[in-house]
Structure formats: structure tokens, C-alpha cells
Assembly symmetry: C5
Homo-oligomer: 321 residues x 5
Amino acid sequence: MLVNCVAYQNGRKLGDIPAEQISEYVKRPECFVWVALKDPTREELEAMAREFDLHPLAVEDAHNGHQRPKIEEYGDSLFAVLHIPELHGDDIHMAEVSLFVGPNYVLSVRRGTEAGFVAVRERSEREPHLLKHGSGFVFYAIMDNVVDRYFPVVDALEVELEKLEEAIFADDSPRQSIRELYQLKHKLMVMRHAVEPLIEVTHKLYGGRVPQVCVGTQEYFRDIYDHLLRVSQQLDGLRDMVITALSVNLSMITMGTGEITKRLAAYAALVAVPTLIAGVYGMNFKNMPELDWVWGYPVTLAIMVGIDGFLWLRFRKAGWL
Amino acid sequence: MLVNCVAYQNGRKLGDIPAEQISEYVKRPECFVWVALKDPTREELEAMAREFDLHPLAVEDAHNGHQRPKIEEYGDSLFAVLHIPELHGDDIHMAEVSLFVGPNYVLSVRRGTEAGFVAVRERSEREPHLLKHGSGFVFYAIMDNVVDRYFPVVDALEVELEKLEEAIFADDSPRQSIRELYQLKHKLMVMRHAVEPLIEVTHKLYGGRVPQVCVGTQEYFRDIYDHLLRVSQQLDGLRDMVITALSVNLSMITMGTGEITKRLAAYAALVAVPTLIAGVYGMNFKNMPELDWVWGYPVTLAIMVGIDGFLWLRFRKAGWL
Amino acid sequence: MLVNCVAYQNGRKLGDIPAEQISEYVKRPECFVWVALKDPTREELEAMAREFDLHPLAVEDAHNGHQRPKIEEYGDSLFAVLHIPELHGDDIHMAEVSLFVGPNYVLSVRRGTEAGFVAVRERSEREPHLLKHGSGFVFYAIMDNVVDRYFPVVDALEVELEKLEEAIFADDSPRQSIRELYQLKHKLMVMRHAVEPLIEVTHKLYGGRVPQVCVGTQEYFRDIYDHLLRVSQQLDGLRDMVITALSVNLSMITMGTGEITKRLAAYAALVAVPTLIAGVYGMNFKNMPELDWVWGYPVTLAIMVGIDGFLWLRFRKAGWL
Amino acid sequence: MLVNCVAYQNGRKLGDIPAEQISEYVKRPECFVWVALKDPTREELEAMAREFDLHPLAVEDAHNGHQRPKIEEYGDSLFAVLHIPELHGDDIHMAEVSLFVGPNYVLSVRRGTEAGFVAVRERSEREPHLLKHGSGFVFYAIMDNVVDRYFPVVDALEVELEKLEEAIFADDSPRQSIRELYQLKHKLMVMRHAVEPLIEVTHKLYGGRVPQVCVGTQEYFRDIYDHLLRVSQQLDGLRDMVITALSVNLSMITMGTGEITKRLAAYAALVAVPTLIAGVYGMNFKNMPELDWVWGYPVTLAIMVGIDGFLWLRFRKAGWL
Amino acid sequence: MLVNCVAYQNGRKLGDIPAEQISEYVKRPECFVWVALKDPTREELEAMAREFDLHPLAVEDAHNGHQRPKIEEYGDSLFAVLHIPELHGDDIHMAEVSLFVGPNYVLSVRRGTEAGFVAVRERSEREPHLLKHGSGFVFYAIMDNVVDRYFPVVDALEVELEKLEEAIFADDSPRQSIRELYQLKHKLMVMRHAVEPLIEVTHKLYGGRVPQVCVGTQEYFRDIYDHLLRVSQQLDGLRDMVITALSVNLSMITMGTGEITKRLAAYAALVAVPTLIAGVYGMNFKNMPELDWVWGYPVTLAIMVGIDGFLWLRFRKAGWL
């Protein structure tokens, strides 16, 4: 679906243009075209490929989806794939946007997400002195927008870990904690797979030989690089703590088992000792003077209770009960 | 066994040629020969070595098999070994294909697999504008075909892990889960050994100094590189989750032991307490007034049942039963 | 809040100057301005940005805070973000300082900490032969001061680990030990995130192409680099030992469970064996000669005590009690 | 001990020569000398050092033994140390060979192994067209022979792991399995220490600036490099699986403990319940009508057996017995 | 404390000189001064700094101590810090030596160790052809001496691990084994921190651009580099095995718990079954014919013993006792 198709000149909007005239505008100097597609059909994509003269391999990737995040150079144009994480309840849904960036065009193709780049376009149009940088700046603005969407997701994962930590040390439903730690680890992996591949390739947009379309905006791409490093560091830290939390949880569970064994032992003792005493006075010896005493029975009961009381106090003190 | 031996000119098939005329066709400019062998004898291989003037070390490798995946330059020709995974039930079988690629020839030698490259040949013949690139493009097309065979295998391993995850958290036959996780880890290793060595060498086919036969098709090899990275990332992710799953499984097992101990303790209590009461009234004291009461026996039984009922409810509430 | 705003010439203090005249002093040769802000408002920061002509991206970072530690070049000036750890009881609080360093100015912006750089300023003013190096030396002096604040924190963490080690091997409240090891791991991570990113960027201040403002003071920055490596090595060592301590703790807990089981078994035996004997003499056989013996009862009791005494000694010797 | 001392010219054997004439032959163009020593005394080594003009540090290393595998350049000659693994029963014995390779000599010094390089010499003498390459080819041939001795050892370790895997999952003598896994890990480390250091240095024998004696035989050294990578990959894979096997073994052991606890609980129940019933009918209440029934006793026994039968079936079904 | 202060010319000792004349001798060509300090006061160090014109940052480091091992260039001189391990009983004590090496001087400053470098000085003076290389050779000789002190320490740690391995598999006092493994891990870390930082910096003394004072002795520094790699490899191997030993120990402990549970269960059975039988014959049914039999009691006792004998044999066979 064609969402937007606008021509810009000198940082200012010329106006919406029909898709068929794109190739004309692309040829004009000082002018660039910014097109946004959403879940396009193969026909729509191929029409664009003709207008912009896109490389078939890149078009193929944009059509198939499920790519790794990447930034590739095709001659003087760039092809980028970015992952956009979205929190749906507790799950992370990964949408994908493909970007074709040439000297005077930007084509964004997003899949599987409602959240587009209208905000980016509006902000850019409000800042013509920046938009004058051309397609490179638009590329930056979209990428910046995507990377900014990583932070709330990572923060949500951090909150999730904190909740799990509390549950672990409270020994609350360890079965549930294990499962959620496992799932958290999985989500972290999904996020890492979105972020890690971008770091190296973004580095190439501002250091060393920079692609032509990014010349003049290197400091902006360095800013994105820095944001990616920040996300990556947070993810690494989270991952490290999740692994530790899993091993800590095992320790807590093992300790729990030990404590149950202690209580079991203590209660067993409380029952077994009076049972032994009762057994002794259940013996059938002829000559057992205690049996004939008037107070034999109540005294015996009192001894049983006394011993149990004494044991109870000792077990309490030793922390077994 | 000689499967195919065809000469091409300008991207179009000239026709099948006899093996003995290969060296003639190889000398013609604008012409290249594409030969496919399957499980060849040493004699067949050596005949080819003479026709194509192949390096003895490479021929030795192709004959012995069991090589690491690799791409080596011998003068102006390439020698590549690729692993082809095949799912046989739950097992991964690794077949091997050796490729000799010169400026005007491609020789593929596959071992231990029925699945050949007929589809590659047909697709290539349908696209003469691509086949015109010569042996480099054929090399790409075969390699692309091999790498594409990795994806379904990795996907199958992903499905296997998901099933195992469910079994782990359902606490279903943990003994079985451990064994299958171990075997899954092993399969992932086999896959990694097929993919990892290729990544670096494929990188050299499109970046920096490119071998002569790959000049002009670099973007295609970068596409393969990207696919390999994708497989590798998936494998790394799977490996990471399998390790976590193994440790999670240990936690689940430990927790299971704790739960059994709890139940054991609870049931023991249900039996031990009435046993104690019975012991008390089994004592032989002369003066035990309860023994003479008419309702002594039934009341005692009722007390036993009552205590057990009370304990049962408490244990239930505490989650021990 | 503006803390300080001083102009220096040839290593000597010219005097406090009003913020509005900064841009004048910055233009004078041989002269540099050193300004310190604390928790500035956006307006204050933007005023400074105008006086010093700072890059908007850097100003944005200094305003937002929560940056990764970093050193970035903007033209001939540097922008640095450093984390300052402060121990509040057992917790580590991370304050942040942003530094803007140009050929003839230094602007420090600290957030969330009372501890400023007055000491740095005083020491610098006492050593005019060093202060003559200009803004590069001031940059070094502040950075050196920040890095020196890492050592006491790392030392405190080392002491914390040593205490935990003792608790682990004394088997004292393992539940508490686990929790504190987990939190220690977290603090180490926070410290690493402050230190690691600086190492690489500091390396660039003395080796290879050095930013203009650092020329002539490279050996000082190498000294900082060396200090950072030392902190990093200590942190890595601590991290390694914490992980080992966690696994050792699990072993200790598991062993503890085993020992409880042993004691449980031993005490159970001490009760069960006399109970069996009592059971035997509680049988109602007609013909049980022991029952009629005068010394039957006391001898039986003595045997019970004797057996228990014997078992007690054996269990003691075997280390079960 | 001097094993062999032969001069070669143009790839053909000139004949055995006395050790004292070595320096003469070394000076002749187109001629090279190949000497093999076995467990030499210091005097023998120093005599050789004089004949070949070897560097004292290298001679020192060859004399002391216990070196890391390495290849070092001394001027226009090479000094290499290789480890030769030998399987003695279940143990790996590491022998060492030192190689001095100059433009027209090769001196091999082996220690602690019977297995020499006679086969290498014979194969080389049968292939004069290769031996013509001179000392570089001999160096290759010896190194190739050494590296080929790694494969059967690694294969034996693989077989050992497979046996251990079976034992682990069969739950056969876990104590033994742990010990053997530990020892296997140790052997893998010994092998890695033999292989890893060679990989990087072998790479330098064919890529980039190649030592003079290896010029013209680079493709052969690349072949060795490839073999080393293969061994290394196998070792890494084995190591990874041994670690996993160790953790799997722990899971199996933990699970075994849980199963024992289950059986213990089940058998305890089978005994405790009839004991309770017996206790009840051992009570001394006056008014217990069952006691007077003629069938009271046999019915009670039947009830005991019946309850145990029922419990037995339930425990069986639940997999506790 | 000034230990030694000697001037050398052309590899031969000129004689002891007073500290105040150092700067004179340093100026003479072909002459160099070798000074050894031990635990110097600040004044002594500063006197030396004036004589040799040392950099204040290096002097500061030498005075403070507790540095990371390092080799730094200050102009045409080198500043090195080396750690010297000493075994005090089971503990490793780390002494420190700082070396200032200029074109014609060597100043060694050692702290916290009695063991000096007299042996180095004596060996050097016996080999004037080597000492002629000047300060670079002395630097090598001291460094070589320090690195040689690592080997016996690492060997001692290896012996310690071997003893621990035996204890683990003998199941001897696991509590002690855990503690010692933990401490061994700590010692390995201390050693690594002494060795690792040196490896990279030593590499720079013989490869690439070499500091002026080391020119002509590169092969000697490569030898040290090789020794460091050997130590490092041994330490890595030890570390790897210690980690494995810790996890193996946990498995042994877990297995031990399982075995105790088994024995507990077996002994419980041996007592519980006769108790049940005794309970049965303690019942008060009127009609229990066995009670009236003359042989009832002894037969019952015999049955109890018989059952226990049978159970004992079965448990033995099953390995539970």
C-alpha cells in the first residue's frame, strides 16, 4: 500500500506526486523524493524498483522479509533492513522496515506494523535547514526513530527482571520464575539479534570511507551508533543478570529442599520419641513397677509432652522449624 | 559417475559434450564447461584432473572427502568444499560437494547425497543474461542452492527446541528431555561446523581483493554471505537457548525432588500421628481410665481421623499434597 | 547552576568573569576559560552553547543525561561523558559529568552529585607550569580525578566479596549470601559499564592520531588509560570470583542438604531400633519366657540404651552426628 | 643419537655422510643435508649447532624440551617445535620434535618417542620432483606427518566420548562417568595445547610475507593449515560436548536421587500403613468388639494385604516403584 | 636502600661508583650504569630521578607501587613494572619490581621481596660479549629472571590441583576440597594478572617498531614472549580444569547425597519390617492361634531375622549398602 509519495526541494516540500512521476523528480537536481510503502504487493514493489532503478537482490529481500538487520551498498545507493520491536502484552513482536536510500530518494517499506514514520516526516518538514541535507538526513531520521523505539522495550525487560528477582528471593512459585526467566532470556536474544548486526554497519556510516549519501551527516550517524551501543550494553547486562538469576534460582530451590528435609526430620522426631515411650510401656513384662503406679499413665503422658516441648524449642532455635 | 557434461557459450547451452573433449572446449574463448560428478571413482576424478589441469592437493581432498567447508584459491581457479545437510528423520546427515571453478569451467563432485543440482542448471539455463557471467555465476548459483538447504534444517531444529521446552515445563519425562537436549546440542554443533568456516571465506569473495572468477558477481556473493550470517545467528541463538534449557531442566528436576520430599513428609505425618495415639492406648498401665470407657475406642478412632483430616487440609493449603 | 567561571592566561588565573563575557575571552589567544555547571537548566545550558558554540547533539546529550561514558570529537573540540560512582551505604550511586573541551575552554556539567572538582581547580592553580598546557591539561586533571574515584569503590566491593566468602564457607545464612552475591554481581556490572567504554576511547587520546587539544599531554592520558586498565582488571577478577563463589555456594548448600539427611538418618536409627525391641516385647505370645523374668524389663531397657550408645558412637565416628 | 645423516642434490640422495662433513655439504649449491637426531646429548646437539651454525636460543630450547609448539624465524632459517601425541592405552603421551630448517639443511631432533620419520624420508626419496623443492619441502613433509598423527588420537577421543554418553544415559556407574569425563576434558586440553599454537604460525608460512625456505611450497603449507583447523574444530566440538555431558550427568544424578526418594517413600508407605492398623488393634480398650470376633484376626491381615496391594498398584502406575 | 651502583664499559665492569656521579657516567659514550634499589624512600627515588632525568609519572608509579605489570615508553627510555610471585607456604605473595631503562642506564627498584637480581648481575658480568649490547641486554636479563620465577609457582599450582583431584574423586572431605578449589582459582587469577598484561607489551619489544634500547636483542625478547605464552597457556589450562573440577565436585556431592538417601532407606527397611511383624503379634485379638503355639515366639523372631537377612543381601547386591 502506498502511504506517502512526496517530492522535496532545498529542504522544503514540493507536494505529493503520483507514483508514476517519481522517476522524473528523481532526475531533477537539488530535489529528492520520499516514498513510504506499507505491506506492498510484489507488483507495487516492482513498480517502485523500476521508478528508482533498484537492485533485484535488494528488492527480493524487501519482498521476502525475515532478513537480518543490515545496511548494504549497491553502487551509490544504500539498502537497509531494520527491525522494529513492539511490546504486545508480555511478548515482543518484531516488525521490519526496508529502506532504499539513493542520492535523491528514500523509499521505506514497512511490514507487520501499524506504527509508521509520519512523526519523522512531520519533524523533518518542520526543520528545513536539516532536511536540506537530503536523503541522507531522512535516512538518519528514520533510523533514529527506529532505534529510539528500542529503549522502552529494553526498559520493560529491565522491569520484568526486577520483578523476577523479587520473586526468586521471596521463594514465590519458583516454577513460574524459572519459566519466566527462560522466556526473558529468549526476548533478550530476539532484541540482540535486532541490535547487534546494526552496530558494525552503522559504524561504517560515519568512520573511514563513508557512503556518498551519508557524507555531511556523519555526526548524526555517530549519534545513532552511540545509542545502539547503549542498547547493546543494557541488553548484555540484562543477559548476564538473567543467567546469574537462573543459577541463583537453582541455589534457592536446592536450599528450599534442604529446609523441607530439616522440617521433615524435626516433625518426625516429635512423633517418633513419644511413640518409642509408648512402645516401652506397651511391653508385656510381668515385672514393670511403673505400670502399677496410680500416676504412671498421666506422668508418662506428661513426660511425652515435656520431651516434645523441649525438642520443639531446640528445633526452633536451630532454625529447623 | 558422470551426471552431466555440458558446454555453454554466451550464456546459452551448446550441448552435451563427451568427457574427452572437455579440454578442447575449455580452451575456446567465451565458452565454459559445466560438469557434474556423483561419487566418482579415483579414475574418473583423475581423468577430470587431466582435462581441467586441477591441482593434486585439491583432487586429493575431493577424493578423500570429510573435509572442512572451505574455499581455496589455486592460481586463477577456486576449490570449494561445502556441506549439505539432510534431515533423515530426527538425524542430520551431512553430504559433501567439492567444486572446482576455473575461468571457463565448473566441476561439481558430490558425495553421499541423491539431491543434485539439476534445478540449479535448469534455472541458470532459463536466465542466459545471468549465465553470461560465466563460471563465477554458476559457482554462485550452486553455493546459493546449498546455503538455501540450511534454512529448513535450522527451522526443524527450532521446532524441536520448542517441543522440548514444552516438555521441560510440563515436567514430562525429564530423562527423555535431557537426552534430546543433548542430541539437539550435538546437531547444532554439526550445523555450525558446516556454516561457520564458510562465513569468513565467503566474505573474501566480494570484499577486498576478489578472485578473478568472482569479479562482476560480488553482489551475489554478498547475498550468500548475508544468508550465512542469518543461519549462523539462528544457530547461535538456538545454542544459547539449548544451554539455558539444560540448566532450566536441572532446576525443574531439583524442584521436583523437593516436591516429592514434601509429599513424602506429609504422608508420613498422616500415618505417624495415629500410630502414636494407638501406641499410647497400647500401653499397659493399670490405671488408664479411657480404656474402661464404653466409647473410648470409637472416640479414639474419631480423633485419629479428625487429626488426619485436619493435617490433610493444612498440607493441601501449604501445597505439600 | 553556575558554580565557577574563571579565565586563565599562561597557566595563571586572570579572575572570575561573568558568563556573558565568555565568548570574548575564548577569542583571546593564550587564554582559556574554565566553567563549571551543576544540574543546569536547559536555559543555562543553551546560554553556554551559544557562548562556546557547542554542537547541538552534544548539548542534547549533556541535557538528557543517562549517557554511556564516551569521548567524541566535534571538529576541534571534544565532548566527554564520565560516570562518577559514589557509595551510599551498600549501594552504588552513579553521577554523571559531561565535559566540553575546546582549544581554549573547558565546560564541565555535573549532575546528581555534590562532589565537584574544586580540588582539581585548586591543584591546577597551584601548578601553573602544568596549567600552561591549557584546556587539554584541565581535561586530563578532571578525568584523572574521576578515575581516581573508582578505586575506593572497587576496593569496597573487594572487601564485600571477602566477607561473603567467609560467610559461604562458614555456612552462615546461605540465603542471605546468595542474595548479596547477586547484588554484588549487579554492582560490578554497573561499575564495568562505567569503565569499559572509556578504555578504548582513552586509548585514542594518546596513541595514533591524537585530538588537537590533547597534543602535548599524551603521557598523562596514557597514565589514565593505565589506571582504567587496572580498575578493569580488578573488576574482571572480582566478577570471575563472584561467579565462582555463586557456584561454590550451591555446592555448599547441596552438601548441607546431604549432611542434614545424614543426621536425620542417624537420629531415626536411634529411635527406631529401641522401638523395634519394645514392639517385640509387646507381642502377646503365650510362651515368651523373658516376660516372666524378674530382671526382664530393666535388662531390656539397658539393652536399648546400650545399642543406642553404640550407634551414637559409630555415627559420631562416621561424622554423621 | 644420530639416526640419519644424508645429503641430497637435485631431489636425489647423494648418500649418507659423516656428521663432520655436514658443513661442507651445506655450502654446496643445489645440495641439502637432512639429519635426524633422537634424544641427543648436549654434546651431540652442540656439535650440530656448530656444523649448521644454529642460534644458541633455539639450541637451548631443543635441548630443554617442554616447549610450546612454535615456529620461529632466526635470520633465513626456521626453528619449529611440534608435539606428537601417542596413545598409550587410555592416556595421551606427548613427544616433542624440534626442527631446524635452513636454506640447505633440515635437522630434526625428536625426544621421547620411538616413532620417527623414516616413512617421510622414504616417501620423499621416491618423489624426486617434489624433493627438488629442497629443505622447505622436507619441512612440509615432516610437519604433514606429525599433523596426520593427530587425527587418530582425536578420533579415539571421539569414540571415548560416545561410550561415555551411553553410560551417562544408561545411568551406569555415574561416579565412573564423572571421573572419565574429567579425564577426557584433560586430554582434550593437552591436545589443544599441541594444536592451537601451531595454527597461527602455520598461517604465516603461506600467507603474507613467507619465510624464504617456504617460498614455492605455500600451497602445501596451506594444506597443513587446513588440517590443523580441522583438528581444532573437532577438538572444540568435543570440548563443548564434554562440558554439556558433565552438566547432563549432574542432571541425571539429581534425577536419580529424586527417584530413590520416591521409592523410599513408596516402600515406607507399604510398611507404615499396616503398622498403624496393627497398632490400632494393639490398643487395650475394654470395649473393642472386633477383638472378640472369630474372623477378626484373619480379616485384619487380609485388609492389611489388600491395602498394600492397592498402594503397590498405584505406586507402580505413578512410576514410583 | 641502594643495593648496587655499578658502571660498565664495553661489557666490562668499570667499578662501583657513588650515586652522585651517576649523571657523569651516563653522559659518557659506550658506558652504562646499572643501579639497584630496594624499598627506596621517596628521597632516594627522587635523587635517582634527578641523576637519570626520569619522567615524574613513572617515578610516581614506582613510588606508589601496586601497579599493573606494564612496559611504557617515555621518549627514548622505557619504564617497566613486573610482578614477582613468591610462594609463602600455600599462599602467593606478589612482589613488584620497577625498571627504568635508558640508552645507557638501568635502574631497578624492587619492593617487598628479599630475592634480588645479584645472580643476573653475576651471570651478565661473566658474559661480556652479551653485556656489550648494553642496557637493553640487562633489561632482557632481569625480565628473563623474573619470568623464570613464574614456572615453579605454576608447577606448584599444578601439583595442588592434582592433589585436589584425588581428594574429589576419593570423596574425601568435600567441604575442604571446595574451599581449596576456590582458593586455587583465586591464586590462578593473581598469577594471570601478573602475566597477561606483559604478553602484549613484550610482543612490541621484538615485532614491528622496536624501542631503541631493545634494537639488536629482539630475538631475546621473543624468547621471553614465548615463555610468557607458555606460562599463560598453563594458567589457562589450570583455570579451565579448576572450573571443571568445581562442577565435578558438585556432581560428586549430589551423588553422595543420593547414596546416603539409599542407605537411609535400606536401614529404615531393615528396622521397619520386623517392627510391623511385632506390631501384628501385639494385636489383642482373642482368636490368634499363633500366640498360643509353643514355638510361636522363637519362630517369629527367626522370621524377622530371616527377612532382614534377605533384605540385607538384596540391598548389598543393589549397591544400596
